[in-house]
Symmetry: C2
Subunit: 248 residues, 2 copies
DNA sequence: CAGTGGTCTAGACCACAAA
DNA sequence: TTGTGGTCTAGACCACTGG
């Protein structure tokens, strides 16, 4: 039986998680069946229940097990057919790839009317809509185009600079009395419009990744919409599900 | 000052998390600045350090804060421009939408040679490659097409039924001596080929979401590749980032 | 050195499920 | 009633950071 090495730099809760994960993958603990109780695991590996729980929490986060109060902790169905895509803001993503980010302001305009898709999302033009669009580049190469629509309150002066560099939710916070606290996003594929294709330097109709984001205030009023189109040859999402390492 | 209500059904660690999140969003704790230390928070809200830590863990998971050993716990830059897409296996996803899943086996074939893209991913044809493809439907409507390539070892009989219903990693485990433990996936947009478009009942060239998945054994040998094409009008990924609820 | 976060322990009470 | 997971406490030791 595997034992916990208390002198290792790998903390016990992590070692135990690796052990249990291994037993699950090797079939000793089978999908649908319960794991030993937290107390039993604690006795078996000479760890406190708190530590056992921390370990189980790690495995639960990874989707390997799930606990049911009063019943037990059960091994989940195997699910390598699962992917998790984290999309940070453009700047963070590109910089993490070691590339240089660039923004180019394409357009800033005041709209009296919202485009139809924005109305469908429940946004109301209040006193008007501020629209702007940017070209997103990585190492000078065009990667994406984004279009933003936000509720607008007059008053504060607008500097082009701001639109070029600041985050959307920041701009909304500054230029309206709204504080966005919730973000809903939808990712899909689409054909590039002639307009967007022109900036992306692709052909109209070429496939692009489309991300549509809606920002809501605490009382669920939509106050900002962002639509992103990414060149599919230069932008993709990746996911990596790996087992816990045994020893570090 | 907000206080912890110990008689509430909402556990203290959660209440505290909501309080801190609120203070961050209202600007009392600013991005880049440190939170009070865990001990201070414990004193202030009359909670044990363990409970404070559980609360901070929750906020860290949500990307609001990050801890640095020896230094402190810092408020992250605001990031509503962030989305997390979880793609479970097709069956789970569709069933969660309350729809009926269907599979139709399109093709099962033994290949002597791997297609070029699979070779590029490092897969070797060993003793041969088993290829199969399925049409994925939701409420009888075609939603996706998938193509699978797996290392093949003769021996066990293959039942068409299996390919129709079992998960890819399960099939690999049964029909080879390989145990996939790691999954890498890439999501992008593409134009549908004539072949796939035909099954999806769309036109060739229409945009589709493409998911490419590679399964690896513990020693990082690729043993299975899955390529999925989804109709962009019937399949999209969603993400919802919301604040913690104050009281439940 | 003092202060920070990271980990662990031993024990307690609760809500829930099943017999 | 017993056993399960969910939460909390009080106290301990460690590793890391910075003065």
């Amino acid at each position: 039986m595997d034992k916990i090495n208390k002198n290792s730099f790998t903390p016990p809760f992590y070692q135990l998680a690796a052990i249990i994960e291994k037993k699950i993958m090797e079939g000793e603990f089978k999908p649908g069946e319960p794991l030993p109780s937290e107390n039993d695991l604690g006795r078996e590996y000479e760890l406190s229940r708190t530590t056992v729980r921390k370990c189980l929490g790690l495995l639960a986060e990874r989707g390997m097990i799930s606990a049911q109060q009063g019943k037990g902790t059960f091994v989940s169905r195997p699910s390598l057919d699962r992917a998790i895509f984290v999309m940070d803001d453009f700047k963070t993503q590109i910089e993490n790839q070691g590339k240089e980010v660039g923004y180019r302001l394409i357009n800033v305009r005041f709209l009296k009317q919202l485009p139809e898709f924005a109305l469908k999302l429940g946004m109301t033009p209040d006193k008007g809509i501020l629209y702007y669009s940017r070209l997103l580049t990585a190492c000078e190469e065009p990667v994406g185009v984004e279009h933003k629509y936000m509720c607008y309150k007059k008053g504060k002066p607008t500097l082009e600079n701001e639109f070029q560099y600041k985050a959307f939710s920041e701009i909304i916070t500054i230029h309206t009395e709204f504080l966005p606290v919730r973000s809903q996003a939808m990712l899909t594929a689409e054909s590039a419009s002639e307009y967007d294709a022109n900036y992306l330097k692709i052909s109209a109709g070429d496939p692009v990744l489309k991300l549509q984001q809606v920002l809501y205030t605490r009382d669920d009023k939509p106050v900002g919409i962002g639509v992103f189109y990414y060149r599919s040859d230069r932008y993709s999402l990746v996911s990596d599900i790996q087992p816990l390492k045994g020893e570090r």
